[in-house]
């Protein structure tokens, strides 16, 4: 009986447990780099530096780059 009363409170008030760094690291490294590459293509490719030649990436995301606050031409 006491348990059925205690159960909901332990669920709602306990702060989430720690996740071990070892479990996060592989995801953080792989997806972190992937996400940063995405941001690079949205924010800087064919502006200050170019991985691909031409102007198409820059022209395509032109408005987004201005409105997201990245320096653009």
């Amino acid at each position: 009986m006491a348990q059925s009363v205690a159960q909901p409170t332990t669920v709602t008030t306990t702060a989430p447990a720690k996740l071990p760094v070892g479990a996060i690291a592989p995801w953080a490294v792989f997806f972190g780099i992937l996400m940063l590459a995405l941001l690079y293509f949205v924010g800087a490719e064919q502006g200050a530096t170019s991985v691909m030649s031409g102007e198409n990436v820059h022209e395509w995301v032109h408005d987004a780059r201005h409105l997201l606050g990245f320096p653009c031409h």
């Binding site: 953080a28 949205v42 530096t49 395509w60 995301v61 032109h62 320096p71 653009c72």
Partner: protein, 251 residues
């Protein structure tokens, strides 16, 4: 199990980022695009070179804008979810939803507001094409510095908490952040390349709409990601019973 939790949170962070990106796209289209068009009209009235357009204005303001804003949302959603995994249980006793909203607020300030106050968003025709390399370097440097200082602030606050108590430690760490950002502002070079006769009203409206886009993005991310994370982190009724039963026996 833990790795699966990280994966589940990461996937939900990217989905929440996509949803937030959709809302930010609405803000960008209705508040931002009219200002971009006005700035381009100014640009065309003042320059005599008319290059061949690789992408039409219609595509830039719809498909192009959507691509950029949605990718930005997904990317920061993923990064924020990974930061959330690190922060869980390490920073304070916040529930999953409050934690997500706090993280979103910290993200907005560290990733956008702090760099924006030094190097604000500029509409087309503001900015010399010859200085794009320098401006890009300075902007990304300011962003990186701001994020690193925000992380340092959290670590400092946590270190001070046992000695000063939570409230005073938070105030002290916040003061450190403001001071450090102020020093960075003072020492980094200024960039002011607004043409003399460019409309001040248009510049103000453009920058305000750029800020509104980010406010929409991060607020929506915090509000969408919180409940999703809560469902990942809250054990299902069956598991809860399984966890509760052994503890009852040991007691």
């Amino acid at each position: 199990m833990n790795s699966a939790t990280v994966r589940n949170l990461l996937v939900r962070g990217m989905l929440a980022g996509l949803a937030a990106g959709l809302l930010a796209l609405v803000t960008a289209y209705f508040l931002g695009e009219p200002r971009v068009d006005s700035a381009i009209a100014y640009e065309e009235a003042h320059s005599h070179e008319h290059g061949v357009e690789a992408v039409s204005r219609t595509m830039q303001s719809t498909g192009g804008l959507a691509t950029g804003v949605l990718l930005y949302g997904v990317a920061f959603g993923g990064i924020a979810a990974l930061a959330y995994c690190f922060a869980l249980g390490r920073i304070g006793r916040f529930g999953p939803r409050a934690g997500a909203l706090l993280l979103a607020a910290a993200g907005l300030i560290a990733v956008y507001v702090v760099p924006f106050l030094k190097y604000p968003a500029n509409p087309p025709s503001v900015g010399d094409p010859d200085t794009i390399g320098r401006r890009t370097t300075l902007y990304f440097l300011m962003m990186l510095l701001s994020v690193l200082l925000a992380i340092a602030t959290v670590i400092l606050g946590k270190r001070l908490a046992p000695r000063l108590g939570n409230w005073n430690a938070t105030v002290a760490a916040g003061a450190f952040f403001v001071l450090a950002v102020g020093l960075a502002y003072a020492f980094l070079p200024a960039v002011n390349e607004v043409p003399k006769d460019f409309s001040a009203t248009l510049l103000w409206q453009f920058r305000l709409s750029a800020l509104a886009v980010q406010l929409t993005l991060w607020t929506a991310f915090g509000l969408v990601f919180g409940p999703l994370a809560e469902r990942v982190l809250t054990p299902k009724p069956a598991e809860r019973a399984a966890v509760a039963a052994p503890s009852a026996v040991s007691r």
